[in-house]
């Protein structure tokens, strides 16, 4: 496939687990035969249970670790370590705590060689802060910001050096539900305006379906790709909750069932997870009722 921006083919990653005096060391397979690609400008989400090697896959694509076997191509070229063509956003923000918000972005710009002099880098950094709605917080330090604000700074920092690919490792995992939803829609807005290719890892089915054009579903021990689900959802009419359209619910249910070992969309006899009863029920109401929406947002 030549149109693939990222091509991951048959990747295996085996870790050496160091032994102790009592337990001998052994090898652990983190991911096995992982195969998928991400097209140029596409937003792909990856969802899987813990132990499915989500973060391992992201580290491999970021070039922070190397695969035991298999290949990872970006634009048809094998990757060689980390590169500024791929920006990474971590769950725990990874901002430099001794630098102000603005200087964190200036730091990235300088590392990337963007901006000819300090004044220009500061101006660019301000633009990116404005892009994520934090222009009034330029001189704050990370410990003075809320989690959501820190993650916005981290996103601004990653966007500032204009990577073609944005790799995101559960970036909203540590945020409260409200901030999370807000940042999800902001991320979609940024993605649409920048045209960046995004690979986004999450453990939340809802997040995966809401953000992704395609969802890569992983299974655990060893981590493997179970299925890739196309999410074609029409833009909901303005003012409606995009998370309660019938399409959204269908996709969400499909991914959920894949994750929980049910490979067919056929009617599940009894849903063991009580939280999902309203979701199924919601199909028949199919309306943006606040109540159904609220239940929807508590998946597990």
């Amino acid at each position: 496939m030549t149109s693939a921006k990222i091509r991951v083919s048959d990747v295996n990653k085996i870790f050496e687990v160091p032994g102790s005096r009592r337990v001998p060391g052994h090898l652990a397979t983190a991911v096995e035969g992982v195969d998928f690609d991400v097209h140029d400008g596409e937003f792909v989400t990856m969802v899987g249970p813990s132990g499915s090697g989500k973060t391992t896959i992201l580290d491999l694509v970021a070039g922070l670790t190397t695969p035991t076997s298999g290949s990872i191509l970006v634009d048809g070229t094998p990757i060689n370590g980390p590169g500024r063509d791929r920006g990474v956003v971590f769950q725990q923000y990874a901002l430099l705590p001794w630098k102000s918000t603005l200087d964190n972005i200036v730091f990235a710009l300088k590392a990337a060689g963007r901006g000819r002099h300090r004044a220009e880098r500061r101006r660019l950094a301000r633009e990116y802060l404005e892009l994520v709605g934090l222009k009034d917080y330029a001189n704050r330090y990370p410990h003075q910001l809320s989690g959501g604000m820190k993650q916005r700074v981290a996103i601004a920092r990653s966007l500032s050096y204009q990577p073609e690919i944005l790799l995101m490792d559960e970036p909203f995992g540590a945020l409260d539900a409200q901030t999370r939803e807000l940042l999800q829609s902001e991320l979609l807005r940024l993605w649409k305006s920048t045209g960046t290719t995004v690979l986004f890892i999450t453990h939340s089915v809802e997040e995966a379906v809401y953000l992704g054009q395609r969802v890569v579903v992983l299974e655990a021990r060893p981590g493997r790709v179970k299925a890739v689900v196309d999410v074609d959802r029409p833009e909901p009419p303005a003012g409606t909750d995009p998370r309660s359209t019938p399409e959204f619910i269908t996709h969400r249910r499909r991914v959920w069932e894949l994750l929980h070992g049910r490979d067919h969309l056929a009617e599940a006899p009894e849903d063991p997870d009580a939280h999902h009863v309203p979701a199924t029920h919601d199909l028949s109401i199919a309306g943006p009722t606040g109540d159904a929406h609220r239940l929807e947002r508590n998946p597990s």
Partner: protein
Amino acid sequence: MSTTTTEKPLDSRTNTLTSSGTTPGVGSRERRNPKRSGAGRTPGPSRRAAPAWRARLRGSYAILAFILLWEFAPLLGSPAFQVFLPRFHEVALAWWELLVSGQLWEHFAASFARSIVGFAIATAAGIALGLLIGWYRALYETLNPLLEVFRNTAALALLPVFVLLLGIGELSKVTIVVYAAFFPVLLNTAAGVKTVDPLLIRAGMTLGLNRYQLFTQVVLPASVPTIFTGIRIAGSSAILVLVAAEMVGAKSGLGFLITSSQNSFLIPQMYAGVLTISLLGLIVNSALVALERRVSRWNTTL
């Protein structure tokens, strides 16, 4: 003595950290978000101001009570006892006389110069070697056993060795200060480098930094707070060791002032020397705390 000097600054440091953390300003709505990191460390302004002020007042009560005890407790003893433990005002008077005559300044300056020179050498060398050891694992594994042997050899035990090899002059005294101050700086620096949040290193790598840039731009600034902990410990042990060294063999310095006053039966002068040592320790410590506060204001974990 050493415990109070290390405890007190830590206290005042947290106070100032919390007060700088709650600067009111734009977006106070966002800042009230209970999820934000460090919530609970920053109580409201009214709750914060009072304890800081009251704590200082309480602290001065204790000092005052101690002085009063010192002033009047000797009266309970025999006249002979009062010779060995003079009343506070006699000590204060002796201190004043030493100050006016210029003797005190002479001894103070001698001690201060020795400790500063030794401390500076130890800090520079300790940071340099500590950075190398913290960054290069092989070097750490090679040197660690030897460093453990040196570290666990009490500096004062080596004083006779230094005197034999380097004579009774300035060199042996500065050397023992270097020895005592070197290890806290070295070990804390190495620990600081080793314990830098791996996430920051990963982030630096994804920004395209090479190893040298990672070290100077991420690892080094991230270890500053830990390095400073070592520097503060080094500051107090430098003075501790120096005074002992001056007591054993010297012609000037506060340690010498104390022993020579004792030998000449100038008991109030002896106590005046002890008080001056406390003063020196306080000055060094608060200077280091102030410096630490300047360079690691961002750090909220310490």
